[in-house]
Amino acid sequence: MIKLIGVTKSFGNNHILRGVDLTVDRGTSFVIIGGSGTGKSITIKSILGLVTPDAGKITVDGQDVTQTDRDAFLARFGMLFQGAALFDSLPVWQNVAFRLLRGSLKRPKDEARQIAIEKLRRVGLTSDVADRLPAELSGGMQKRVGLARAIAADPEIIFFDEPTTGLDPIMAGVINDLIREIVAEMGATAITITHDMTSVRAIADNVAMLHDGVIQWAGPVGDIDTSGDPFLDQFIHGREIGPIEAIR
């Protein structure tokens, strides 16, 4: 279980998180929605320790994330970044097997390559992309490689940062299905941040809406259309009129 209690984060006078409380149950797919610049990425980066919160507490399975062995802690996570964040200088298979080629999870090179090719196959890519460089791939293929890298070491917890942004609707659907399948078959806990409502309905068990630095609404995905929350209603229907200012 991942738990955030009163997490705050500011950059100068810009108060991004003003006291985020969130609970994500083990083995569930949790989606955080919200407008651009509302702190969705900061929230998951805080869990990973990429950003240090100003106040509040974050625990994973009851353990304070600031008190854990860093390597062992990060070995439990996989993350798909918004732009895939593939390493330009490494071929695709070494990107996927990055964690398996060094550190505590290091495997022999041949074995790491085989695992990488298997993970590429799992996300619908053939082995002939393994030796290509990321720059030679399309945006959709890069996202898939990023997804393969995120699941390469069979993590317990996977974060997906805007997994369908910049993709055409068909490719977005493919990625959504892949995420749903991978989370189900691995039994992993997933947190996805997105403002794509199609993704939300395809991926989520539970949803939270982040607005003005706090969790505005949280609940099962089946309740989002009947929540009665004016902020959530305006967001999911994409209305210009409502409590959320259209110009931010």
Binding site: K45, L48, G49, L50, R70, D71, L74, A75, F77, G78, M79, F81, Q82, G83, A85, L86, F87, D88, S89, F98, R99, R102, G103, S104, L105, R149
Partner: protein, 257 residues
Amino acid sequence: MKLLAAIGRSFLGLIAAIGRIAIFAGQTLGHIVRGPFYLRELAVSFLNIGWLSLPVVGLTSLFTGAALALQIYAGSARFNAEAVVPQIVAIGMVRELGPVLVGLMIAARVTSSIAAEIATMKVTEQIDALVTLSTHPMKYLTVPRVLAATIVVPLLVTVGDIIGIFGGYAVATGTLGFNPAAYIRNTLDFLELKDVVSSLAKGAIFGFIAALMGCYYGMNSGRGAQGVGNATKGSVEAAAVLILGANFVLTGVFFSL
């Protein structure tokens, strides 16, 4: 009053920047002595910083040594001391021009490249990705580059010194009428061990500065294309100024104290 406040703010900003760079340098040195070490990254850095810099270092040194011989010949002819050309070319190249020119060439070629590469990695979240993959960015990106530059730039300086002296030799024996054997003998006789040691020491320190500034500005880059551009520009400016400042201090340490 506003002018004083602006000067004060600039001064405090400068002190803070020096402090941040000093902390970054300390952290880098700390990671150099503690594993894990990424040998593939180190080998790639040796190739990029050392081997691939040889053409620019060689050509720069060759032309500088040749021009130096012409200048010394023209200057010394005013008081009938043309015979000092081999000695002055040797001492000029080994003590000053070799290390400084190689340092500045490395700042132009390597510092800018390191800063742009790491800044782009930061902007595209590759640095964050490294962290999530249990890899410390300083160990993976900074240490191999700084270590490789510190080791390989003295070798480049040695190559530059030799090629620069050869440039002077070629001009002196080819167009100024010097005897080749006498030129080489005068060069070797005049150089002292301290000259070579100072050249190597300067090379190591300039290499450290050049790579460190590239990594520091890259890691602390702002967002977007402008952030990458500013990081690249700032890194080269800082490296060049620090190299010239360090050269003055080292020259004082080796030859005036």
